[in-house]
Symmetry: C2
Subunit: 328 residues, 2 copies
Amino acid sequence: MPSIKVALLGFGTVGEGIYRILNERKEEIKRETGCVIDIVSILVRDKAKERLATPGTRITDDIQEVLSNPDIDFIFEAIVGEEPAYTYLSEAVEKGFHVITANKTMFAKHGPALLKHAKFRRVNFGYEATTAGGVPIIRTVTNLLLTDRVRRIRGVLNGTSNFILTKMRNEGIPFKAALHEAQALGYAEADPTDDISGKDAFRKLMILSALAFGSQPNWQDVPVVGIDRVTIEDVSDASKAKLRYRHVAEILIDEKGLLHGSVGPVLIGPEHPLYGVDGVNNAIIVETDYLGALTLVGPGAGMYPTASAMVGDFLQMIGKHEKVLVTS
Amino acid sequence: MPSIKVALLGFGTVGEGIYRILNERKEEIKRETGCVIDIVSILVRDKAKERLATPGTRITDDIQEVLSNPDIDFIFEAIVGEEPAYTYLSEAVEKGFHVITANKTMFAKHGPALLKHAKFRRVNFGYEATTAGGVPIIRTVTNLLLTDRVRRIRGVLNGTSNFILTKMRNEGIPFKAALHEAQALGYAEADPTDDISGKDAFRKLMILSALAFGSQPNWQDVPVVGIDRVTIEDVSDASKAKLRYRHVAEILIDEKGLLHGSVGPVLIGPEHPLYGVDGVNNAIIVETDYLGALTLVGPGAGMYPTASAMVGDFLQMIGKHEKVLVTS
């Protein structure tokens, strides 16, 4: 039975999720694809740190040990931050590895260049997990674009912000207390700046813009407002008027082909499709010519949703050669 | 430039939608796939009937003229009802045509056999359009199944029923008046029995069951209740209690691997994910091991949503040979 050799870059929550899923679903994957998946090596920053036992897998802190191994076919990247991830993945693509990433900070900025490079090198590049975690928005938009034209995308792209706004409304607690709760539950980072400033939602919006419209607006032209200025009084006034605050990221293309983006808190009423999207969920509304509006709602983060999105990219890539081809 | 030759069986609303999309998107399809799509023939019941002009395409009422044409690669089927559609498609698969269908009545019953036959004959068989119109639920569940296990699927699968319940609530009009309005707007058929009895939602549920769980429950074991017994008093009592009626189809697998299905009106509160799904929309909630719940909401019917789902199946099939393959 052929074996497919993979390496993981990063072994935090998401990296561990990938490792777990590939092991838990070993038999199904064998049956479905006819391949054995072999996790050859895992790149970590600190080899001494205590972590999940991974028998048979080499733990290394040397990226060149991974990138110079000609046996490896696929690289899963689950590092945080722009660098060194971008440098690693550029080299990986150049050397002909297939790549799957969950790194939104890196991909929002370098995604277009990496995808171009990957196309040129004829390697697959998956990024479903960069945007909205377990919600398959990249695949859905990619498929819609086969037949249709996207006009507008908007949604709740940051689960932490949505959790905080939901807490403030449901429990009448101020922003800071809700943020502390999000941190205690592991939803917000130790430094939650990117979540609450709107920067994280902005990055995901730029990834969706590049996918749906083939380009991004100038970053500095997009107003980005976080939820940190929404007070408990604002939230309670809204509730009295049967309205809710949602942190909405939006990008649309006008009739001249110009892109308009915005990120910030928006007041919405009970008939709005985002009204019921509470807690850490993400939601995305895609508007197209033929379809009207399609809405997807699901978990925006978490070990298993994010890791399963990455494994989904991977299995789609290795499943391709099994399909029946058209002969004309 | 290679040309791909297709035939349409049926030229009602959906058939005409396919014809329009393939023509409207001719240039994009050429650019994306490198192929010219040639609509060779259209099967109709009555050749004399007035219809959209289709220059260069042969209009025929003889199925054998289509099925004996070795030039044709793909068949789009958009006929209503089990027969003769099933006979036509069985023969098409046997002869090696790739098939795309929107026929839910036929596919709920014969889908499993047709897919098995298609696999054996190594042809593609697309059925995205059979369930929830423009909502890409078949593709989404197919992809989820690569990495995950589905536990429960539930949703609003009949747009006509949902439209009627919405009208009754919003305008305080009785069932029969709301039904007449649905008919006047073209949402309900002249004979709306299948919609309002729950039979149509049941069929889509069986299609989803076969996909998600690999089998269907015994049809007679699934309780199916329509919306025709919901009175204006029921709806107004519900509204007073801040509840709404939704016609919900549900299928789940228990820990012993047994399937449990049900179809009928359900009372739900404001925090339920189906609460905001009004009008002719469809909505589906898929619950899996890794993801938790994923919800999709969109147009359940209509010329363009249904036809674009079929063209999506088609373009995915012909796009396959363009992908980079894994070499291991």
